[in-house]
């Protein structure tokens, strides 16, 4: 099972703005991180957890859509987990479904189109960056991810 949640203790001073209330009263922002690379998943998870976020990771676009309740065969329910996600951060280069294709699906969803999507990539390709921003990505981050990148993400959480 590739979608895995992680529990974490929050730091005493949360630098994030108030997030929506989770089912269990957890007010931490809930971020979905999508990346086919295991080490990168670990890194992004730790970076976000250290910034007082709740993190769910997915190893590809299909698992991400499944988690968000956006898979073709899933019914669109406003009570699904997807609506409680504060942000989605995804790698661009993934086999099967690229981060760009995932972005399009999210922006094409009436429920999730307002959720900020951040694209990560190890390659600095201006046409790629522009394409993602035009499709509605909030930000494009160059890998490898650092603590300073997470600081930039904080303003995106609603």
């Amino acid at each position: 099972m590739s979608v895995g949640g992680s529990s974490s203790s929050s730091s005493s001073s949360s630098k994030w703005s108030r997030s929506k209330m989770d089912n269990d009263g957890d007010q931490r922002p809930h971020i979905l991180a999508v990346d086919d690379n295991l080490i990168d998943r670990k890194l992004v998870e730790k970076l976000l957890v250290n910034s007082s976020c709740k993190v769910t990771t997915a190893e590809n676009g299909h698992r991400a859509l499944e988690f968000l309740g956006l898979r073709d065969d899933q019914t669109n329910s406003s009570v699904n987990i997807g609506s409680k996600v504060s942000m989605i951060i995804t790698d661009y280069c993934m086999p099967g479904m690229t981060g760009y294709e995932l972005l399009k699906k999210i922006k094409g969803s009436s429920i999730l189109k307002e959720v900020p999507v951040v694209i990560m990539s190890s390659e600095n390709v201006p046409t790629r960056i522009n394409k993602c921003l035009e499709e509605g990505a909030q930000m494009f981050i160059l890998k490898p991810l650092k603590q300073s990148d997470v600081k930039k993400l904080q303003c995106l959480i609603y």
Partner: protein, 149 residues
């Protein structure tokens, strides 16, 4: 040896790793992420990297051994390795991967085979040095010293 001497040894050894390009700034990022909640974070991630790399090198050996070489497949594996080595700060491995990918693009079999040897060698070197580093950290903890830098 007491904690102070071991600590000095660790600092010197780590500085050398940075100087020789085995590690870069990104490794510092990993160390900064380690905290009381996750005191073994660096060891865990680096160990995962070792396992994952061994798997990728295996896949690469197999892929390059095929009669009908699928360069896209080979490139896919190298891309993965480039990504994970970059994320943990394994600079020399990462740089070898960049060269490797260029040869994949050129569909140059011999050069790819050579690159595989080089990346295996670089990985073996890195692994050995990281094991020394982690060993020193363990000794420091055992000698009652504070946790790593």
């Amino acid at each position: 040896m007491d904690a102070v001497h071991l600590k000095r040894q660790l600092i010197t050894f780590t500085e050398q790793l940075f100087r020789e390009g085995f590690l870069d700034e990104q490794f510092n990022q990993l160390q900064q992420l380690q905290d009381e909640n996750n005191p073994n974070f660096v060891v865990e991630v680096v160990s995962l990297f070792f396992q994952d790399t061994e798997r990728l090198l295996d896949e690469l050996s197999k892929a390059l051994d095929q009669a009908n070489l699928d360069f896209k497949k080979v490139d896919g594996h190298v891309h993965q390795l480039k990504g994970s080595s970059s994320s943990i700060g394994a600079q020399r491995v990462q740089r070898t991967c960049i060269i490797f990918r260029n040869y994949c693009n050129e569909k140059n079999v011999q050069a790819c085979l050579k690159c595989l040897q080089v990346v295996k060698h670089e990985f073996a070197l890195l692994k050995s040095k990281m094991e020394t580093l982690f060993n020193l950290e363990q000794q420091i903890l055992a000698a009652g010293g504070p946790p790593s830098i």
